[in-house]
């Protein structure tokens, strides 16, 4: 059995750990609020953008932009992996990375992969696996993200796609569903997938109403202008979602850690009391035993 002093030190240590996890929980909570505000601010833009783009793509002719055309052979795939820079957020990064990993495994042997990394954890993983990294962006996820980060990165991706550095671009990021739920998602970014899939509801209403729009320059040219931007918009929204997810994942992880600390403190306190009681009993037994002996 542990001595009284040992148990006492242990309790102190656990209490201090709990202070740290609690503080991290609160920091994550306040960052999460900030990230959510950013996401909401962006939603307004994204919705309007999808509405206009959806309506426009219905009007413009087919195959107007090389961004929409799949390459004939898909040999080189590019993955944008969004992870956090820091750990202590439960299985958040592990889930994202395993998502990317299983995507690579599914693709089979003859596909080459390269990476763009947002976040240190994903980059470190790529380095360990020795997969070529085209570009890396550290200290983006989890901070206040500027749109020009997404547009600069997006432009690089589009250039690479157009000059044949890779035939397909997918993005792995974490979708923020609720405080307790963030799921890793994989989405194709280039060539831009046909609109129908995610614009089903809005398109019915928009088409007739946008049909009367006067467009300047022509619808095709407008579309050519907007399509690259839609890539930036998607990238930006993925970054925001990942960032929000990171904070909420960290909050949950720290909350659990604090609870585990509480449990541990309870158990240790019980052990401490037991040890104390045992030593008192032992001392009493000594005294009683001694008295009995004297009486003898």
């Amino acid at each position: 059995m542990a001595t009284l002093k040992e148990v006492k030190t242990k309790i102190g240590a656990v209490k201090k750990t709990k202070q740290i996890t609690k503080a991290m929980n609160m920091v994550a909570a306040s960052r999460l609020r900030g990230a959510q505000t950013n996401m909401e601010g962006f939603r307004h833009y994204a919705e309007k953008f999808a509405e206009v783009l959806g309506g426009l793509s219905g009007r413009a002719g087919e195959e107007t932009s090389p961004l929409l055309l799949p390459h004939e052979e898909v040999i080189k795939k590019h993955i944008i992996l969004c992870t956090s820079d820091r750990g202590l957020c439960g299985g958040f990064n592990a889930h994202l990375i395993s998502k990317a990993d299983s995507f690579i495994k599914e693709a089979g042997e003859d596909v080459e992969f390269s990476f763009t990394n947002f976040g240190k954890k994903g980059r470190d993983w790529c380095r360990k696996k020795q997969i070529p990294i085209r570009s890396e962006h550290i200290e983006v996820i989890g901070t206040v993200i500027k749109f020009n980060i997404a547009s600069t990165a997006g432009k690089g991706l589009i250039d690479g796609f157009l000059n044949g550095e890779y035939d397909e671009v997918v993005i792995v990021y974490s979708e923020f569903i609720s405080m307790g739920r963030q799921i890793p998602v994989i989405k194709q970014l280039l060539p831009i997938p046909p609109m129908e899939s995610d614009e089903d509801e809005t398109e019915d209403q928009d088409k007739p109403y946008l049909a009367e729009h006067i467009c300047e320059p022509s619808p095709d040219e407008l579309l050519g202008e907007l399509l690259p931007r839609s890539v930036y918009v998607q990238l930006y929204s993925a970054l925001l979602e990942t960032s929000t997810s990171e904070h909420s994942a960290r909050m949950m992880a720290m909350d659990n850690a604090s609870k585990a600390c509480d449990d541990m403190i309870d158990n240790l306190t019980l052990a401490y009391n037991k040890a104390r009681q045992a030593s008192i009993t032992a001392e009493l037994m000594d005294i009683v035993g001694g008295a009995e002996a004297l009486k003898g």
Binding site: N38, G41, F42, H44, Y45, A46, K48, F49, V52, L56, K146, F147, N148, A150, S151, Y209, L210, E212, H213, I214, C215, E216, P217, L222, E225, L226, R229, V233, Y236
Partner: protein, 136 residues
């Protein structure tokens, strides 16, 4: 025709303006256009430049925009821009630094420089500074 339209200027980061205005004039890529109530539905890309509008109280206001497009409806003008700020929010120091940097890039002999981007950056900085100068 009397009446106000709603002007909304939105960037990915925030809603810059959302208010009732009498008239709004925006720099379309094929020329500047003004929007009053009852405008026909119209969609255009925008040049880097200034949107100016007269608010409900009759005051002139200015907003810098770049990289955007605008949608006019009979009662509303929506501008989606990559960056936009009100004249009073323009950061002149930042614009000056950006201008110098862009100029340096354009003058350098380096092959790797993306001239299109540098030029766009220079244009943005010049427009920002010009607009900021008109501040009282």
């Amino acid at each position: 025709m009397a009446g106000n339209i709603t002007l909304e200027v939105v960037t990915p980061e925030k809603v810059v303006v959302s208010e009732e205005v009498q008239i709004a004039v925006a720099p379309g890529s094929l020329g500047e256009f003004g929007v009053l109530i009852g405008h026909t539905t119209f969609l255009t890309t925008l040049k880097t430049g200034t949107i100016h509008y007269t608010d409900a109280d009759g005051d002139e206001r200015y907003i810098f925009v770049s990289g955007g497009f605008a949608e006019a409806l009979p009662d509303k003008l929506t501008v989606l821009a990559e960056s936009a700020e009100r004249r009073r929010d323009i950061d002149t120091r930042r614009a000056e630094v950006a201008m110098e940097r862009a100029q340096k890039r354009l003058e350098s002999e380096d092959e790797d420089i993306d001239f299109v981007r540098a030029k766009a950056a220079l244009e943005r900085a010049i427009h920002r500074l010009k607009l900021a100068e008109t501040r009282k």
